[in-house]
Subunit: 597 residues, 2 copies
Amino acid sequence: MAVFASDALSSTAYATQEILVILAVAGTAAFGYAFPISIAIVVLLAIVTISYEQTIHAYPNGGGAYIVSRDNLGQLAAQVAGAALLTDYILTVSVSVSAGLAQVVSAFPTLLEYRVYLAVGMVLLIMLINLRGVRESGIIFSIPTYFFLAMLFLMIIVGYIRYFAGDLNSLIDPPPFEDMGTQTITLFLLLHAFSSGTAALTGVEAISNGVTAFREPRSQNAGRTLLWMAAILGVMFLSITFLSGEIGGVPSEVETIISQLARTIFDGRNLLYIGVIGATTLILFMAANTAFADFPRLSALQASDKFLPRQLAYRGSRLVYSWGIVTLAAAAAIIVVIFQANVSRLIPLYAIGVFLSFTLSQAGMAHRWLKIGRLDEGDEIQEAGSKLRYDPGWVWKMLVNGIGAVCTFIVMMIFAITKFREGAWVVLILIPTLVSIFYAIHKHYLQLADDLSLTDFKPFPVLHNQQVIIPISGVHKGTLKAVGYARSVSNDIKAVFVASEESQTQRVQKRWLKWAQDIELVVIDSPYRELMHPLVTYIEDLAEMKQPDEIITVVVPEFIPSRWWHNLLHMQTATWLRWALRHVPGVVVVDVPYQTD
Amino acid sequence: MAVFASDALSSTAYATQEILVILAVAGTAAFGYAFPISIAIVVLLAIVTISYEQTIHAYPNGGGAYIVSRDNLGQLAAQVAGAALLTDYILTVSVSVSAGLAQVVSAFPTLLEYRVYLAVGMVLLIMLINLRGVRESGIIFSIPTYFFLAMLFLMIIVGYIRYFAGDLNSLIDPPPFEDMGTQTITLFLLLHAFSSGTAALTGVEAISNGVTAFREPRSQNAGRTLLWMAAILGVMFLSITFLSGEIGGVPSEVETIISQLARTIFDGRNLLYIGVIGATTLILFMAANTAFADFPRLSALQASDKFLPRQLAYRGSRLVYSWGIVTLAAAAAIIVVIFQANVSRLIPLYAIGVFLSFTLSQAGMAHRWLKIGRLDEGDEIQEAGSKLRYDPGWVWKMLVNGIGAVCTFIVMMIFAITKFREGAWVVLILIPTLVSIFYAIHKHYLQLADDLSLTDFKPFPVLHNQQVIIPISGVHKGTLKAVGYARSVSNDIKAVFVASEESQTQRVQKRWLKWAQDIELVVIDSPYRELMHPLVTYIEDLAEMKQPDEIITVVVPEFIPSRWWHNLLHMQTATWLRWALRHVPGVVVVDVPYQTD
């Protein structure tokens, strides 16, 4: 459980607070609504959990929203789910790291002004760890999770004991109270607060993605884990909301609710307090870390379906999807900077993607039960990702997933409407944009495959001659190495020198005669010290005059300096030539490296 | 004159204000010292002008501080001057653009909060204009300069008339007065204010750099222009300071002194006011633009002396030094962001570089006169950059330049001391750092020339065989094009396929047999979807076993998509392979482009 639970459990660190932030505009009196709202959220959690439990049994090889949508609702739904999930993973990193730093700031308030720098640094640190490659070993991951559970339940239990003993104090020195208002309590406000609280549900889907990581019988184990996790999450969330109401906790940018609870229940900022804060911070960073496993895995999947650049489908040197990891970190860091590592400002963007993927995944499952219902008894069909086998309880199961889909869809709509102006509109624009980009990429790959197809292919003319051109900047070992290479390729060789200074030209010509007499040296005048332009024009002219069975190979001598920064001191002629000549057919650029010491 | 004057004249737009900013800490009473300080600055201007007038005659081909120092004081002094000037040009762009936007903000105060964005945008715009290539045509450049002179003198003359008629009003609605203090007036404070005011002298050296642009007799014309420009500059600067004192102008971030003067003298924000503001803004942007001519020219000079990367010495496609222009714009934009486009915060960094180059240039000239004094009468020596001819007046001329050098040196020291804590320390660290970088670059080039030298060179073994490796990702037109190229190079060809999926591998093998039966296809297993690592290892192993007279050519099929952004969707295998194999001797990477439509 420990591996998958960090994302879901960590949301208890901020969900209560985000409900209070919204209620605050109607004054302290409105805080009384936090507990009923939490109960509604826990009911929603129960619905989603039961619905996902069915997904786990149907997809024993792992069924995230992308796969379930693709198999049951088609490509478009899958791409929408993909866009929603990728957005969601990016925001998981931003929100979790920001919330983690909010805990740190609660304990060490002087760090408040460095929050954004620390958050970006943390994102980069997690990125580096992931680029180095982390084994998803249960043991290392389980320590922070169990530590978090132990500390939080200790705090909650002590809290309840003191509450029933009538000994639970009120919050001493409440942190500064921002955005306090005197609005009346409206339905809109309550729904708004409810939307913020649904952040507690994020991460619930993690287990259904990773069923393969469980011991056999996998589906049973994964399903039982999911139920346990949801139960723990529900209890923790309700208890935190309840106790926070009892002590009179206030939402604040400088001190989190968890910190207010811990120091009230444990009577001060002592070792137990530090334990709670440390455990909460740690699990939030772990939650960010899980996104670094999920994002690259999903993008690799989308890339092999040709909806994302294919680089994302390959692993780099340490067996990690480097491109995916770097992309995620860059996006999350940018968002952290834009939103100044402020959780309350990030939340309006967060849960839409989550609920959209919930809805698609459960709608997909409902459709799957419908297909199963159409089968004859005892029938079995193998579909792309999973087995369809007749199940007498299909109507009931379809209803469970269907109700789940409807509920999450309604919540998504409530979220979009109540938080539209605060930032939800960004996501409502972003997801369709991403989907169109995915389709543009897809179209390019299909077009390319078509262009390259060998159906009705007339073989290329056999090449009978290579014209070799060696651009030189002087006569030295590097040049002669390139000349040696050129000789091994062809007898039709010319060297080209771009001349800006008379004295230098004469020197080059004299030395050329000495060292490579048999090869013609063409001198191009360039009085204004241009280099690439005359060279490119010369080669383009040659390319125009060549025969179809000829090819022009440009052999560029290149130094490979021993220190990488020395590369900045060299012209990179080969790279520039290759770029300038990329659209000229029949021209090939080779750089012959000369390794200096 | 118009071409070179913008830099120098534009500094009148902020010099007075910067004096007042410093005096403000001692309260309004201290503003009375602004005029005497301005007189001291004009005296300094006269000394520098006379000294530079001599340089113009000695260096009819253009003698900036870099050339004069190199010819007369040696390489180290030249590099120090180079570092000082490059820093100075960068700051010219930052300061001029920021000051220009301060004028715009004075007229349109709502733009205040977008100041930094606008400033960065302006820097990028000037960069783009310069990358497109601007002809230094006198006509286009002269319009803003003459417009500025006309508007400013109109304002000054009207100001004097109203002053003598006793009709000059006090400033109405003075802008908010920041940093007002009650310190006593100390010598340090006055020297501090004097230092800020020396910003007025920046740009005076421009003419001596560009003597070649004048009509014959060049030196006479250039010299006369310099004297005129200095005279106009002096009169304008003194008048602005004087009138500003009379109307009770206050230094402010939201409204410049020029704006305060213009609306007081012209009785409101009318058309004449807009004319003054517009002309001032324009000339400030022109001043930034001149740095875009000077910086690339100087860096090209330093690059051909092998103290800067050699790319800087060549012109790009539109006959401009693209690298220099981009480097300057990037540096200036970064500085604008760091200092939030605030002129007063930039000034402490600005003038040190200017005065350091003044000092070196004039010390160089003094040394030159000493050398001339040692010649016999009528003798003439040709030195690197200029002719040394005996001159009976050498003692007198040496004294002029010597006094100039001593004065500017003293001013530089005053500047460094009084402004050390405000930012001058940055420059005092930066210039030595730059000089050491220049020498590190120089050392690299000398070392490289030595490594590549053909003295005692034993010819490389003649290459008798090429092993060709073709990494393929599938069998299509691009692959077959690469195969065709490989065949024209060698008979020893292998194709290599990195296999992650069994089904795909079988498909590739079958198609390979159909299309290129005679060439061996090596399949490397990569169960974890790695691509580069297995390929690189395979090639490295081959390279280790090859004979010294063999070379390995890796022929990579590459698509050239028609739209540049499609490149992001391709693996760029050739580029990555080239980078991974750059230190492996005897391996050459060719990409054979296949142009798709």
